[in-house]
Amino acid sequence: MSSSIDYDTVVSAVVNILEEAETVLPQDVVDALEKAASEETSPIAKEQLEAILKNIGIAAKKKVPMCQDTGILIFFVELGRDSRMDFRLEDAILEGVRKATASIPLRPNAVDPLTRSNSGNNTGNGIPDIKYELVDGSSIKITVAPKGAGSENMSSIKMLNPTEKDSIRNVVLETVLNAGGKPCPPVVVGVGIGGSFDKAARLAKSALLEKVDEMTEEEKALLEDINSLGIGPMGLGGKTTALAVHIKKAHCHTASLPVAVNIQCWANRHASVVLGGDE
């Protein structure tokens, strides 16, 4: 028999994962940055990575956001089909966001796209972006992934022809080249191949949640190509342009080949919580 999940539990869980995501970088990302710092030979590149590591330490210790761009907030919800709630989950997530914005605090980043008027609390029309997936079981898993604009602005999508499979690598490399130092490298690169115009982008975005130290041979090869460009930390040159590449695929229309490249800064922030479940 599954227990029902109550509103206040969700609100405070959302505040907690937001605080964790904004102040503590996942350990796999920290490890990758440390490895990069030890391998860099250019003094400027080394200095950039050392500043990043120092910054991560200060943020975790002082419980302050590691970056002032606390992002636009993206939530991934895995909703157990047997979970029970007597409220709208979205309402609880929004309240959690408003509370966290005031308490952590977070920078108010959500603005009307045209008037640019700021809502002041990181909520607005369609924001935070909440992606739901129905799964088995009676628990719900909520993941938050704050996304900074510096990296998001350098992302791209290309609708290739079905026969242009060999151009996928060029799409990824040209996106990284065009981005240069703007997205705060070393970056994490999420690639979505197939699906549709929007599904490819969603695949690329969710690829950013994968552990940076777990890559397939295909992903490692692409990472090597990216790092051979020598853009380096902050675009000032060096061996580490990217920490990881993750590729996700979906079947697509016989007449299309969408490719989406979502760029993520070194602050590959995300945190999760599981609520409810069988008693």
Binding site: E47, N55, I58, V111, N118, L177, K182
Partner: protein, 191 residues
């Protein structure tokens, strides 16, 4: 070379800097990003005087995260924003105001000519907001808060703010362009 400089900066302060040098700044820096740049240019067109003095000033491309209200603010996080967004407005700004240094991240496009003999671009490590906050002693004041927290002009008192890498010097050297050229060469060699 490593330099410790105090604001307001003089021409000779920036003349001696070469791309790749390290700088630590002390004194006053003004945050300004997209909306503030647009307003500075609008006010020049309307022949209106700015509420702050940009002569010898340092502009910091930054939308900080602040805590507080009225005139009692505390810096929570204040790392650099992507400077390239301000590229188009910067030459116009340099025609009007004697800004000596811009601090930001990621480099700028087509500004070496406008900065020649006048000013430099200093790169601070992107995302290092908690680190930057450590060297900000206090918030002197805030201008144009109507633009919203990230877009307002925050007048910050800093001490040994850095390490800042001279990304573009006043002699038309640009580290970012050099790296970019090499990256394009490397790309053309990938089988």
């Amino acid at each position: 070379m490593e330099y410790r400089l105090n604001t307001p900066l003089k021409k000779e302060d920036v003349d001696k800097l070469k791309a790749g040098d390290i700088v630590y700044l002390s004194g006053t820096v003004y945050t300004a990003r997209d909306e503030a740049h647009a307003r500075i240019l609008e006010m020049a067109e309307e022949k209106k005087e700015l509420p702050f003095d940009l002569e010898g000033a340092v502009i910091y491309h930054c939308g900080p995260l602040m805590k507080g209200k009225d005139d009692d603010w505390e810096v929570v996080a204040a790392g650099p924003t992507t400077s390239a967004r301000m590229s188009k407005m910067t030459p116009k700004l340099l025609d009007i105001h004697g800004v000596r240094a811009f601090v930001g991240k990621g480099g700028m496009d087509n500004v070496t000519g406008a900065m020649k003999g006048k000013s430099v671009y200093l790169a601070f490590t992107g995302g290092c907001a908690a680190l930057a906050a450590m060297s900000i002693e206090k918030v002197n004041t805030v201008h144009w808060l109507d633009l919203g927290m990230p877009e307002a002009v925050w007048e910050l008192k800093v001490k040994n703010f850095g390490p800042l890498v001279v990304g573009i010097d006043s002699h038309e050297n640009d580290l970012f362009t050099d790296v970019r050229k090499k990256a394009l060469e490397a790309y053309s060699k990938i089988e």
